[in-house]
Structures are given as structure tokens and as C-alpha cells.
């Protein structure tokens, strides 16, 4: 019963969040300077041509009516058609999902496989006061260097020296620099927090080896924040790694949405944003469930 209530609450709050996001993105698009008609017809179009186009796409109606139509359609699972290509948006997004999904999978796998061990190692080697400066500097750099800077650099180097690379490797590498750094840092902090807990001292006092203690008493205890971060990164990338996809010219969801923004392809942008938001919300619910499973103290509360 309590579980049912919990789910109902989660579903309701998720719906409210999505509704708010739909309003925001709808309003933001209409508020952008320049409209669909100007983009399509160019600067020399006559007012009559513009008006005709507006009627064809329903843009002559009030903003509220447009929003109402859109919501009603979304309610039936219809995300509209791209005003540029004339194809259903849902199908177009679906077709681009594999690209984004592969990119996400590669980057997240790298983040977990490299970031978690790095974080555990740096935490175990950490000394009070000095030390670990190099590690902190590197992870700080990794977290703070923007994707467009690193991505542009990589694109430049590769094209300048004519290196041959296969599809997803480079963009995934650029994305995983951030993901690895953030994961390593979060893991390190989480492990450091667990290391000072009395139950770890008790394990040391029982003569357990460091590896045994890490495996049995630390990883699970430190998993909460790391899981949360990993899921957040996954959701963020699944919603479209906008800049990186665009830079490397990958036909994923991110570059599709970026393009659509430029062309004022309202239906596509709206659907893309809703998709990203939904992925985020679903991911967050999954995290809560997972963290509750890993740490029974938190599970009780949920």
C-alpha cells in the first residue's frame, strides 16, 4: 500500500514536471527572434506568402490554441511532423536513437570502468593534508574543460594530420573525459567518507586485507552518490550530447535537435526536449530504487 502510494506520488510529480517543461520549451521557442516562416521563405518573402505558410502549419492561431493542439496530440502519442522534412517526429527521433545510445553507452562504460577504480585508488592513497594534488588537478581539469573546446581540438588534430578513426571512438572519448573525471571525483569523495566510518576501523581491527575491506565494506557503502552521478550522466547523454554530436557530425538525437533549433522546426525541438526530460525523470526514479536496494537505510525511507 505504501509502495503504491509512493509510485502514485512519483508519477504525479513526474507528470507535473513534464507539463512545466512543455510550457517552458513551447514558450521559449515562440519567444525566439525570427520565426519558422522567415527561416523557410528567406528575407525577401512577401507578407502574403508568410501568411499562407502560417495558415498551413496552424501558426496563425493563438499561442494558447497551438499549445492546446500540441498537448492533445502528444496525449495520443502523436508528436507531430517535422515542418522541414514532413516526416513524423517520433519516427525521426527513433531512427537517430541508436547513434546517441551507442555514444552514451561507450562514454558511460568508460566512466564506470575507469572512473570508479581511479576514484577508489586515489581515495585509498589519499593522505591528510598534501598529496593527491596531481590527481585533483587532473580531475578538476577534466570536469571543467568544456566539451566544445576539447572536441574542436580533437577534430582539428585529427583532420590536420589526416588520422583515420572509426565512428564513435573520438566523440565517445571526448565525452568520457568529463564522465571519467566526474565519476572518479565523486567515487573518491564517497570512499573517503566511508573510510572514516567506525565499521571500517572495525574491519581493519579484525585483520581484514585492504582489498577485502574495499570489496565487502566500502564499495556498497560508497555506491549511492556514484550511482546517482552515473545515472545523471547517462540521462544527460541519452537526451542528446548536443555539442559533441554536432561537432563530429554524428546523426544522433542531439545534432538533430540542434539543427531543428536553427531552422525553427518547432515540433522537433519540442519533442526532443520532452524526450530528454522524460529520460531524466525516469532515470531519477530508477536511481532512487537502485540506491534503496544498495543501501537498506535509504530503502526504508522511500
Amino acid at each position: 500500500m505504501r509502495l503504491l502510494l509512493w509510485w502514485a506520488g512519483r508519477a504525479l510529480s513526474s507528470a507535473v514536471t513534464l507539463l512545466g517543461i512543455s510550457v517552458l520549451i513551447f514558450a521559449a521557442l515562440r519567444l525566439m527572434p525570427g520565426g519558422f516562416a522567415e527561416t523557410i521563405l528567406g528575407p525577401f518573402a512577401t507578407p502574403e506568402q508568410k501568411a499562407e505558410l502560417a495558415v498551413r502549419y496552424g501558426l496563425d492561431q493563438s499561442v494558447f490554441a497551438q499549445y492546446g493542439h500540441w498537448m492533445a496530440a502528444v496525449g495520443t502519442g502523436d508528436f507531430g511532423t517535422s515542418m522541414i522534412s514532413g516526416q513524423p517526429v517520433a519516427a525521426e527521433l527513433w531512427a537517430r536513437l541508436p547513434v546517441t545510445a551507442q555514444l552514451t553507452l561507450l562514454a558511460v562504460a568508460a566512466a564506470v570502468l575507469a572512473g570508479v577504480p581511479l576514484g577508489v585508488l586515489t581515495a585509498l592513497r589519499a593522505r591528510p593534508g598534501g598529496g593527491g594534488v596531481a590527481g585533483r588537478l587532473l580531475s578538476g581539469l577534466g570536469v571543467s574543460v568544456p566539451e566544445f573546446a576539447l572536441g574542436s581540438l580533437v577534430v582539428f588534430v585529427v583532420s590536420r594530420y589526416g588520422l583515420q578513426t572509426s565512428g564513435y571512438l573520438l566523440p565517445a572519448a571526448v565525452l568520457s573525459i568529463f564522465a571519467i573525471s566526474a565519476t572518479a571525483r565523486t567515487t573518491r569523495d564517497a570512499v573517503l567518507n566511508v573510510l572514516v566510518e567506525p565499521h571500517v576501523t572495525a574491519a581493519v581491527a579484525r585483520g581484514e586485507t585492504p582489498w577485502f575491506i574495499v570489496r565487502h565494506h566500502i564499495l556498497r557503502n560508497a555506491a549511492g552518490p556514484v550511482l546517482t552521478l552515473t545515472a545523471t550522466i547517462t540521462a544527460y547523454l541519452l537526451g542528446g550530447a548536443l555539442i559533441v554530436e554536432y561537432l563530429f557530425n554524428l546523426p544522433g538525437i542531439g545534432s538533430y535537435v540542434v539543427q531543428a533549433v536553427g531552422r525553427r522546426d518547432y515540433a522537433v525541438v519540442q519533442a526532443g526536449v520532452l524526450l530528454a526530460a522524460t529520460v531524466f525523470i525516469v532515470m531519477n526514479v530508477l536511481i532512487d530504487l537502485l540506491v534503496g536496494l544498495v543501501d537498506p537505510r535509504l530503502g526504508r525511507r522511500a
Binding site: 565499521h199 565487502h216 565494506h217
Partner: protein, 336 residues
């Protein structure tokens, strides 16, 4: 007789603060020794040093710790782990926090028993070191039930509970079961009952002491409660400002204290009070040392202090049955 535990002249600093200022302690096999002192007297540091469990910022500047002849502070990591796993057991203040919050009690016990099963082969003289598997069939679950039963936790629900679902007293008994699973030679208990209410306190202490007697395990019990310690322990060591100022048979130390600090402590204990007679708190505050004490650290609070007490460090003298760190011990004994 060679002692099981020998701590000699141990000095430990935390940054600029001095926690131990030349502490000495002897514990014989099978003996229960209470280490008594106020907060900040260094008893917890002494307890941690026995297993080399000092926090990272602690620096040992002098002294030795020997357990069964092994130099604890100089052992290589593997030998240190073996010593901790086979000869030493520790019980800490906060029972619930000293259990892994993500693991059911039974699984924690299994983990410890399995680890011992592996180490057991190189263990000591066949003394039931194989995770307690000697003669009891029924596999690991039976072993878990056996070890929980030893600490009077017979309810089968305990094994499947998480630590946060237990009461403090139950959690501390689980911690005792974990520490005693390897049948250690020496159990160090750092105020194991500080966070428990008085009814549960007695039960937990009964469990510790009866289990230790059964196994022939020596106990070092760190506490601030002199009368309680004196009731259960064979010997008592009183700590003040990082040194053991008086040690001897429990009844003697409580009944005929020689060191002025021990005497003051005994007078200030509520349990020892005669009804109608006002309790006498020890005047003044314990010092915070930043280096070796020049003389006797208790001198500023001591009604018997004379000039050399502030300038000359007292060396242990034997008075009756007690070892005492006091320049005037012999005279004071006569006064008493």
C-alpha cells in the same frame, strides 16, 4: 612471567597535542584489566595503539607495544593483519556504527567466519580457530547461530536484520560476537557500554566477561567508571594526562588508592558515596599537554604537591600491591 601485552613508555602526539606521555601497561594471559581515566586522559589512544589502529594524524614518538612478544608498531602489514585477526579483538563505543550498515548481521558474521576459515590453517595450536567449526556440523548458518547464541542473541530474526534495525545493546552484542569469533587472546573494549542505558549495560558486560572467561581471553576494558571497572576486573590502571599513574589489584586501587588522583577519583564516584556525605569532585581541570610534562601532570590539582612535583617527572614506585607514579607515594601511603 612474560605478559601477553606489554606497553612501555608509549608517547603519541596528535599534531601539537600530546595524547600519551610515556604510558606503561602490562596484561597477563587470561587477565581482565580496567583502564580508567577522564576524557582526554589518553585511554582511547592507548587502546587503539594496541592494535596499531591510531588515526592517521597520530605520531608515535617513543615507546613499544608488544602483544605475545610481537612488536605491534614495527610489524610488516601482513604480519600485523595476522596479529589483529588471530590474537586481538576490538569492541568500540558506538555499536551500530561499528557494523556495516549495508549488510545483514548474519552475512557480516559469515564474512568474518569465512575469512578465518582461510587463515585458520596457519592459526594457532588447533584452538578452535577454524571459524568455530570444531565439532559442530550444520554448515555456516549453524555457525552464525552458534556465535549469536554465545552473546545471548537467540532470536533468529537478528541474523537477517540490518544493523539500523537493532537496538544499541543488540548491536553491541553482535559486535562482540564478531570480535570474539576468532577466539582472540586479547579483547580491547573501548567504553563498549557508554551509549547504552544501565540495564542493558550490565547485560552486555556480563556477555563480554563470561565469553572471555570461557575462551581464556584477556580483556583491556577502557572506561571512565572506576567502581564499575573495579567490580569486574582483576587489575585496574588509572590514567592521567597520557600516563598510567597507578596500577594494581582492582580492590586495592579502589579501596586503598595511593596516588592522590586515584584517591580523588574514588571519592568523586557516585557509586562509592556514603548516603548523606557530599561527593567531592576533583578540583581543577585535566591539562592539555603540548609536549612532555615537565613534572607530575597532576601537580597543579594535587593537595600534596611540593616543589619537585612540578619539575621532576615521577618514575614508577612500588607501594604495597600497586605501581604508582608519585614522588610522595611512600609518605602518602603512611598518611592513608
Amino acid at each position: 612471567m612474560s605478559a601477553l601485552l606489554e606497553v612501555d613508555g608509549l608517547e603519541v602526539d596528535y599534531g601539537t597535542a600530546r595524547a600519551l606521555d610515556g604510558a606503561d601497561l602490562r596484561v597477563a594471559a587470561g587477565e581482565a584489566v580496567g583502564v580508567v581515566g577522564e576524557s582526554g586522559s589518553g585511554k582511547s589512544t592507548l587502546g587503539a595503539a594496541i592494535g596499531r589502529l591510531l588515526p592517521r594524524q597520530a605520531v608515535v614518538t617513543a615507546g613499544t607495544v608488544r602483544v605475545a612478544g610481537e612488536p605491534v608498531l614495527d610489524l610488516p602489514p601482513a604480519a600485523l593483519r595476522r596479529l589483529r585477526g588471530q590474537r586481538l579483538g576490538f569492541v568500540f563505543q558506538d555499536p551500530i556504527a561499528s557494523l556495516d550498515p549495508t549488510m545483514r548481521v548474519g552475512n557480516q558474521l559469515k564474512l568474518v567466519l569465512r575469512a578465518q576459515g582461510r587463515e585458520g590453517r596457519e592459526g594457532r595450536d588447533g584452538h578452535d580457530s577454524g571459524g568455530g567449526r570444531g565439532g559442530r556440523g550444520g554448515g555456516i548458518n549453524a555457525d552464525v547461530a552458534f556465535h549469536l547464541g554465545r552473546v545471548k542473541l537467540d532470536d533468529p530474526r537478528v541474523a537477517t536484520a540490518y544493523p539500523h534495525q537493532l537496538s544499541g545493546g543488540m548491536a553491541q552484542r553482535v559486535a562482540i560476537a564478531l570480535a570474539m569469533a576468532a577466539s582472540p587472546e586479547l579483547l580491547v573494549a573501548d567504553e563498549p557500554t557508554a551509549s547504552l542505558d544501565s540495564q542493558v549495560r550490565e547485560e552486555v558486560l556480563n556477555v563480554v566477561f563470561s565469553l572471555a572467561r570461557e575462551e581464556g581471553t584477556s580483556i583491556v576494558w577502557l572506561s571512565h567508571d572506576l567502581p564499575a571497572v573495579a567490580r569486574r576486573c582483576d587489575r585496574v590502571a588509572v590514567m592521567y594526562a597520557g600516563r598510567v599513574v597507578e596500577s594494581g589489584p582492582a580492590t586495592e586501587v579502589l579501596g586503598n588508592p595511593v596516588h592522590p588522583y586515584t584517591a580523588a577519583l574514588a571519592r568523586s564516584a557516585p557509586a562509592a558515596a556514603t548516603p548523606g556525605v557530599r561527593l567531592e569532585p576533583v578540583p581543577g581541570r585535566p591539562p592539555v599537554l603540548t609536549g612532555p610534562s615537565a613534572g607530575c601532570a597532576f601537580a597543579p590539582r594535587c593537595p600534596f604537591a611540593e616543589d619537585r612535583c612540578t619539575t621532576e617527572r615521577p618514575e614508577p614506585v612500588r607501594v604495597g600491591t600497586q605501581d604508582v607514579l608519585c614522588h610522595r607515594a611512600a609518605e602518602l601511603e603512611v598518611i592513608a
